[in-house]
């Protein structure tokens, strides 16, 4: 039985809380802004846009990330995972399309 999911950390020891720590000063990278914009558009938050995914299915995808990866990923890296999972689940993109695009981008970046 999975009694406690990794993300559900309330009440666990966590050390000192730094008010307004890293999040207050973090300057968002362009890709992070793009991820945020994509989430807003896909969730139909802007008037007149269609809701293609829900915040709840994205949360579920984030909660399914294995604990080690969850801890190592940044906030928006987890968002990317959740958006990709939701788009595949909904049939908006296929795993193959995502795979081919990732290879294309990696090649373009010289990787």
């Amino acid at each position: 039985m999975i009694e406690r999911s990794h993300h559900d950390m309330g009440g666990l020891p966590a050390g000192k809380v730094e008010p307004g720590g890293i999040d207050a000063t973090h300057d968002y990278a362009l890709w992070e802004r793009r991820v945020d914009a994509m989430a807003v558009l896909l969730q139909g938050i802007k008037p007149g846009t269609k809701r293609l995914v829900t915040v709840d299915e994205r949360r579920r995808a984030i909660e399914m990330i294995p604990p080690k990866a969850y801890d190592e990923m940044s906030y928006y890296e987890r968002w990317v995972i959740s958006l990709a999972e939701a788009l595949i689940q909904r049939g908006i993109v296929t795993s193959e399309e995502l795979a081919r695009k990732m290879v294309e981008v990696q090649t373009r970046a010289g990787g």
């Binding site: 999975i2 559900d8 309330g10 709840d56 299915e57």
Partner: protein
């Protein structure tokens, strides 16, 4: 919307259960007894929305007030300190 089963001031106990899926009821509050502080309205069930279903009909959502001392056995603050958590009706039983 379904009619709300509980009224402000009523004592409720949070279901002490650990199902799978996307759960909005925090781990630490399950099994605790609190008091309805207010009815927040009714919203589609997030556990259903997370599985790409409608979540309808909307479920009543309550703000439930707990005494800190009852939630955390080693709590050292004032007896008067409380903690409020928003919990959907299907996670609550009458206490």
């Amino acid at each position: 919307m379904l009619a709300a089963k509980y009224k402000p001031g009523e004592k409720v106990k949070v279901l002490k259960a650990y199902p799978l899926g996307h759960i909005r009821t925090p781990y630490y509050i399950r099994g605790c007894v609190g008091e309805i502080e207010r009815i927040c309205g009714a919203f589609p069930n997030p556990e259903e929305l997370a599985q790409m279903r409608s979540g309808l009909p909307p479920l009543p959502l309550y703000r439930v007030r707990f005494r800190q001392k009852e939630v955390w056995p080693d709590y050292r603050g004032s007896d008067a300190d409380v903690l409020e958590v928003e919990i959907f009706e299907h996670w609550l039983d009458r206490a």
